[in-house]
């Protein structure tokens, strides 16, 4: 009993950086806290057989910088446990990773040919799950501070980028100019179609408007309108209150509209009502179009 109680703390201590060893002395009920973590992990993944000590050593390695009791509370325990088990190469862990994590990656990769998706997944399996003789599998680097899926998805987009730049597969992200112009054909085709020159004028105005925005404004519009990050998330990323970020997004959007209006108005051919209707179109399609233009 005392043997086992000591064992988790001992394992924890063994892997904790020397600089933080002293912290442990002041922590009360550490063994119980660690046992609680193990219990939580086992409940989440009952099918995985990994000793509590091994997991606790992994926790020690990734312990967030906050004081120990808080740091333990910040961890995504189940995700970390799964990553740790995968790093040991346990077969069932690998299967669980495949099913619960990897399968959820492709929907976030955007429109890619299925062959490319397969390739991305294959590279990910190699990179994340296969250890080398000199280094453990990369998945052991997962810190447990954010969701495992988010971490994996970030890696996936990186790999997509790599694949795109190697083999000259640049076209993955490139839009041919016609496609940009086509953007402004209206949504319902029994209706009016913009004339070709009007469409080009719009495209040009949007292009110049975006170029005139600050980098921060463009980033805010892109993150929110194109990538769909919520105001709460932006608030976290920007370290600002939600209302403040929201105001900035709205301001950026209005500024873009003004810039576009100015660019369009400078073209002699467009009269008042036509301009208004074009702007209405821009407004209503803003999110859609920004995404096409900014990528």
């Amino acid at each position: 009993m005392s043997q086992s109680r000591d064992s988790l703390v001992a394992a924890f201590r063994e892997r904790l950086p020397a600089t933080r060893q002293a912290e442990l002395d002041s922590v009360e009920g550490l063994e119980a806290r660690l046992a609680e973590l193990v219990e939580k992990a086992h409940t989440a993944w009952p099918e995985l057989e990994m000793s509590g000590a091994t997991f606790i050593q992994h926790v020690a390695r990734h312990l967030p910088s906050a004081p120990v009791p808080d740091a333990l509370g910040q961890l995504h325990v189940a995700d970390l446990y799964l990553a740790c088990a995968c790093a040991t190469g346990e077969r069932r862990a690998l299967a669980a990773f495949e099913q619960h994590v990897l399968e959820k990656v492709p929907p976030r990769l955007g429109a890619l040919p299925s062959a490319t998706v397969d390739e991305v997944l294959q590279v990910m399996r190699q990179r994340l799950l296969l250890g080398r003789t000199d280094s453990p599998a990369k998945i052991s680097d997962y810190s447990g501070r954010g969701p495992l899926l988010a971490w994996v998805r970030i890696i996936a987009t990186r790999i997509v980028g790599e694949l795109a730049s190697q083999d000259g597969r640049q076209e993955l992200f490139d839009e041919p100019p016609e496609a940009l112009a086509r953007m402004f054909s209206p949504d319902d085709p029994e209706r009016t179609l913009l004339k070709e020159d009007t469409r080009q004028a719009l495209a040009e105005a949007l292009r110049s408007g975006l170029a005139a925005l600050s980098e921060r404004e463009r980033a805010l519009l892109r993150l929110h309108h194109v990538h769909g990050l919520t105001m709460d998330r932006l608030s976290t990323m920007y370290g600002e209150p939600r209302s403040s970020v929201a105001r900035k997004v709205t301001q950026a959007r209005e500024r873009l509209l003004k810039l576009i209006r100015a660019a369009l108005a400078s073209r002699a051919r467009l009269e008042g009502s036509e301009l208004e209707s074009l702007l209405g179109l821009v407004r209503s399609r803003l999110d859609f179009s920004i995404h096409r233009w900014m990528d």
Partner: protein
């Protein structure tokens, strides 16, 4: 500086970085689209569950969607793409709108869209864009819409217009909206961009709320259209959450903007916003965000009219009422609003259409693929065939055939698979050719051909499905089943004519299912299971009542009628076939029209033998076939020849039958080849003509040829061989080859009895024939049994007055005659004559044989005057029908001669017999049984005249013929007796001895024939008795 690693970004997202680290990462991220994308991928926001980066998959020019050929995209919408497309069947352009609902409630949404689109399709109003067709296409649905050339109201109002002109256009649009409301449809997104002003001046409302989720009933789909405004960034939330266009809030009623439900009153509000905008050049409410707009609308803050506006106050009042914030304050309906708008007469305005810019066909032409890519695609499209007749189906059918264990299964499979392969090959070749041609300079015709070919694939599919479940009877009749596969070349040569009517796409699954059942029913018919088939078609008629698709009704009725005809229910069949005809005409199904006329010819002209009507039916049928094209539909054209030939035979018009069969034979050889089943029908048809012309040797050769053709296709055990075997036997009989004939008949009867019920109509003919030959052999009881059975079957299946029934009846009369029951015989023959005359008219030559038999019976009864009248009448009828030079006349000349002999006018007898001999020698050659009869007849007359010397060689020659071509042993016995008698009279060296031998042989022969030879045997025995009384014969004694 490189991008932060995944752990840093992940920590950045959850705020786990130190403040300075966060700031530096943020700075990097703001300038790095790749990191932004990575962060977006990591983020679990629901908005991204929609694959927003998925561009709609664009269809290439020339791609097929249902029967439509894509021309070019004319726009991309929130839920799909619209293409200009071509409808090859109706040869017109349409706008093809593809809707691809997405998200969690996709299936539900899809069904709702389909229902709405279908109700829209039923809504026919001049001011609503017509929906021609609605169908399912993968996960989505498609609408084929009227393609309107013109502009939208949004463009139209851009130029300033006088208010009366504006009002007139809006009144039309309002009528369209009102019609939709009446039909229970709500538009939900009425605005100027959704109103088309056609080149033809017609105003049409389009884009009914199909692409938008309904707020009424059912769980919301995706994010709701409008959400209650959030405290901050409400408009943003609205825009971002849907990720797609919302429609234009500017036209929405406040209740819609607040997320409430849309109804007819919200449409009225939208209508008035648009009308306000068109009248004043301004929208009624200020504001760009939905909240601002909604707030202004709810507060009733309508912009004041511009100072220079000429819009009358009454009109403004009407519009303002329509813009009331509370729905209950608006007009109760669009009709009431329209009435208010028309209360004041609108001055007619001049032509305005000239000012309209036509923009609807402006579109993007997606690049053509290279020639090679088209080739590959064409091959792929042609591979649709593999779903119907690919290696898998082929093997399944083969196994099904083998599993029946029937002797003829292997040969049937070989022929069938070869024909199906050929058909499939032809389809593939034509389809690929058309697909390649569709890339050429004049693609319309090629598209029509493709559509036509694709529509014909179901026929093959329906047949292969039945074949895959083949039982013994299906295997037996596989040949007939595939005979309906035709018209492929017609698709190439005249696709519009050859294209079968097609159901709405949404109906297609039901129609296809019904057609598969129809193919099953057809299989029953081909298998001779007519009652089973009728059960199926009867049920099918009930099933399809709910489908309401007339071409299908025509197809089912056609088979229903055919089955009734085959089952001998001829009156019903006639009625049903007329119904099929009407349904086919109503649905412009030329093929079924032609088939119905042809079957009517068969039922009315052949089976019911209503002679006068056949000619008219024939004209109708010929016209229908001409319309289809003989060469394009050789199957139908040959059917017509076959049926008509049959009718002309029934009517005794042999020349016409000859022409009909000859013409059909040539067409069939050309279209199906020498060795096809169809060709064999014409060969045997000609055989029937020759048989009726008494050119037995020719008839036999033709029947034998047909037999060889059929055995090559069917193998030797097929019941289908029975009929032709029976014909062969009949000709063998005419040629006096009695024993052969009997064995062939027995084989024929056995084949039929193995597969059919005891009273099946097809048994009648062999029973009749076998009965006749047994009668000739003196086996009268057996003969009577067979013949009576045949009469019963004929009466039951063809009716009492049908020629076949009458002739069978006459056969029974001949048994009675041979049984020496002359009164009974007379009565049978008299009935036969009466029935024939009722069916075919008083002067029908078909009654000649029965009249002749009446005469013979009457002679036996000693009523010579009556006998003479009937015999002369039969000669006359035959002369009328076939000419005085016809061999058939000889039939009646011989009994007439016997009458002359009996009435002591041997000179006339000799003349009759000599004429008969001349005719028979000419028609049948010098060695036919009839010639032998004629020779004996002449000799008998000469003996009666006392000139013995010429009689002997005549009789010797007659007997030689009898030996090689023995038809009736009684005739042979009688000639033998006559020779004996003649020799005895001549009294030359050895004559006495030979005379005794002959007469003894004759007696033996006649004794074997029993009752039948009673009369003749009596004469022989009387003669013998006289000889024994006066053993030394006077040299020139003449026996009376």
């Amino acid at each position: 500086m490189g991008c932060p690693d995944e752990t840093t970004l992940s920590d950045f997202l959850v705020g786990a970085l130190s403040e300075e680290r966060r700031a530096s990462v943020l700075t990097h991220v703001e300038g790095c689209p790749s990191c932004q994308r990575a962060l977006a991928a990591a983020e679990d926001s629901p908005r991204l569950e929609v694959p927003w980066t998925d561009p709609p998959v664009m269809l290439q020019r020339g791609a097929l969607l249902a029967r439509y050929v894509v021309l070019e995209p004319i726009g991309v919408g929130a839920m799909g793409v619209v293409y200009a497309a071509y409808d090859p069947e109706l040869d017109r352009q349409v706008a093809l709108k593809l809707l691809r609902p997405e998200g969690r409630h996709m299936e539900e949404l899809r069904m709702r869209l389909l229902r709405e689109a279908q109700s829209l399709a039923r809504l026919s109003h001049p001011n609503v864009v017509a929906v021609h067709d609605v169908g399912v296409c993968g996960d989505g649905i498609f609408l084929a819409l009227e393609l309107v050339e013109g502009t939208t109201l949004a463009d139209w109002v851009k130029s300033p217009r006088p208010w009366p002109e504006v009002l007139r256009i809006f009144l039309d649009a309002g009528r369209g909206l009102a019609a939709a409301h009446t039909a229970g449809l709500v538009h939900r997104d009425f605005k100027p961009a959704n109103v088309l002003v056609g080149k033809d001046g017609r105003v049409r409302v389009t884009d009914f709320g199909l692409a938008r989720p309904s707020n009424r009933g059912g769980p919301p789909v995706e994010a709701p259209v409008a959400v209650p405004p959030a405290p901050e960034g409400g408009a943003d939330a609205l825009l971002t959450r849907t990720g797609a266009l919302l429609g234009t809030p500017a036209y929405m009623a406040p209740e819609q903007l607040m997320g409430g439900s849309a109804d007819a009153l919200s449409d009225q509000f939208s209508f008035c916003v648009a009308l306000h905008e068109a009248l004043y050049g301004l929208r009624p409410f200020e504001g760009v965000t939905p909240e601002a707009l909604g707030e202004a609308a709810l507060a009733g803050r309508v912009r004041p009219p511009p100072r220079d506006s000429r819009v009358p106050a009454w009109l403004r009042a009407v519009v303002l009422r329509g813009l009331s914030p509370k729905p209950e304050d608006r007009f109760p309906s669009m009709e009431v609003l329209l009435a208010a708008l028309t209360r004041h007469p609108v001055r007619r305005v001049g032509l305005w259409a000239t000012a309209v810019a036509f923009a609807c066909l402006v579109g993007l032409v997606v690049g053509y693929g290279g020639a090679h890519r088209r080739e590959v695609r064409c091959e792929q499209e042609a591979e649709n065939l593999a779903r119907v007749w690919g290696p898998a189906q082929r093997e399944r059918v083969h196994q099904a055939f083998l599993a029946t264990g029937k002797a003829y299964a292997t040969s049937a499979w070989e022929t069938l698979s070869a024909e199906l392969d050929a058909h499939a090959g032809q389809w593939r070749a034509l389809r690929t050719e058309a697909c390649l041609a569709a890339g050429g300079s004049a693609p319309e015709a090629a598209w029509q051909t493709q559509a036509c070919l694709d529509a014909r694939l179901w026929q093959l599919a329906a047949i292969t499905e039945v074949l895959e479940n083949a039982d013994a009877q299906t295997v037996q009749n596989a040949q007939q089943m595939i005979s309906s596969l035709e018209g492929l070349e017609g698709c190439r040569d005249a696709p519009v004519l050859s294209t079968r009517p097609q159901p709405l796409e949404a109906l297609r699954p039901k129609v296809d299912a019904a057609r598969r059942k129809l193919a099953e029913a057809r299989a029953r018919m081909e298998a001779g299971r007519h009652a089973d088939g009728i059960v199926l078609t009867t049920a099918l008629l009930k099933d399809i009542a709910s489908i309401d698709y007339r071409p299908l009704e025509a197809e089912v009725l056609l088979l229903h009628g055919h089955l009734h005809g085959m089952a001998g229910k001829l009156t019903e069949a006639e009625g049903i076939l007329y119904r099929a005809l009407w349904a086919a005409e109503a649905s412009r199904d030329d093929e079924t029209v032609a088939r119905a006329w042809i079957l009517l010819i068969w039922v009315v002209g052949d089976q019911l033998a209503r002679v006068g009507e056949a000619d008219r039916l024939a004209q109708h049928a010929r016209a229908a076939v001409e319309r289809l094209g003989r060469d394009r539909f050789p199957g139908i054209a040959t059917d017509l020849h076959l049926r008509l030939g049959g009718v002309w035979l029934v009517e005794g018009r042999l020349e016409r039958a000859d022409e009909e069969f000859t013409e059909g034979l040539a067409l069939s050889r050309k279209a199906y080849g020498q060795e096809s089943l169809r060709t064999s029908y014409f060969v045997s048809g000609l055989g029937r003509v020759r048989s009726r012309q008494l050119r037995s040797a020719e008839a036999l050769a033709l029947y034998r040829k047909a037999q060889a053709q059929r055995e090559a296709i069917w193998g030797p055990d097929h019941p289908g061989l029975a009929l032709n075997l029976s014909n062969i036997a009949a000709e063998l009989m005419s040629l006096g080859r009695r024993e052969e004939a009997i064995s062939v008949w027995r084989r024929s009867l056995a084949l039929l009895e193995a597969s059919r019920a005891a009273d099946h109509p097809s048994l009648a003919a062999p029973l009749n024939n076998l009965g006749s030959v047994l009668r000739v052999l003196g086996r009268l009881d057996e003969a009577r049994e067979y013949l009576t059975r045949a009469v019963a079957i004929f009466e039951h299946s063809k009716g009492t007055d049908h020629p076949n029934t009458a002739i069978a009846l006459s056969g029974v009369g001949m048994v009675a005659y041979d049984s020496q029951h002359f009164e009974e015989a007379l009565s049978y023959h008299r009935q036969a004559v009466e029935r024939l005359q009722r069916a075919l008219g008083a002067d029908t030559s078909r009654a000649a044989p029965a009249l002749m038999y009446m005469g013979m019976a009457q002679q036996r009864l000693g009523r010579n005057a009556e006998a003479r009248r009937n015999l002369q009448r039969s000669v006359q009828l035959w002369e009328m029908e076939n000419g005085p030079e016809s061999a058939t006349v000889g039939f009646a000349l011989r009994p007439l001669a016997h009458l002359e002999l009996a009435t002591n006018t041997p000179k006339q007898a000799q003349a009759h017999c000599e004429r008969a001999l001349k005719l028979d020698e000419k028609a049948q050659g010098s060695e036919s049984p009839d010639v032998a009869l004629d020779l004996a007849c002449i000799a008998e007359a000469q003996l009666a005249l006392g000139s013995v010397d010429p009689a002997v060689p005549l009789l010797e020659r007659a007997l030689r013929v009898h030996v090689v071509a023995s038809r009736d042993p009684l005739d042979e016995g009688w000639a033998t007796f006559l020779l004996g008698k003649a020799l005895a009279v001549r009294g030359g060296p050895g004559d006495a001895q030979r005379a005794t031998e002959r007469v003894e042989a004759a007696r033996a022969c006649m004794t074997k024939l029993g009752v039948r030879a009673t009369q003749e045997l009596k004469e022989v025995q009387g003669w013998l008795a006289r000889q024994s009384e006066a053993p030394s014969l006077a040299r020139h004694e003449v026996t009376p």
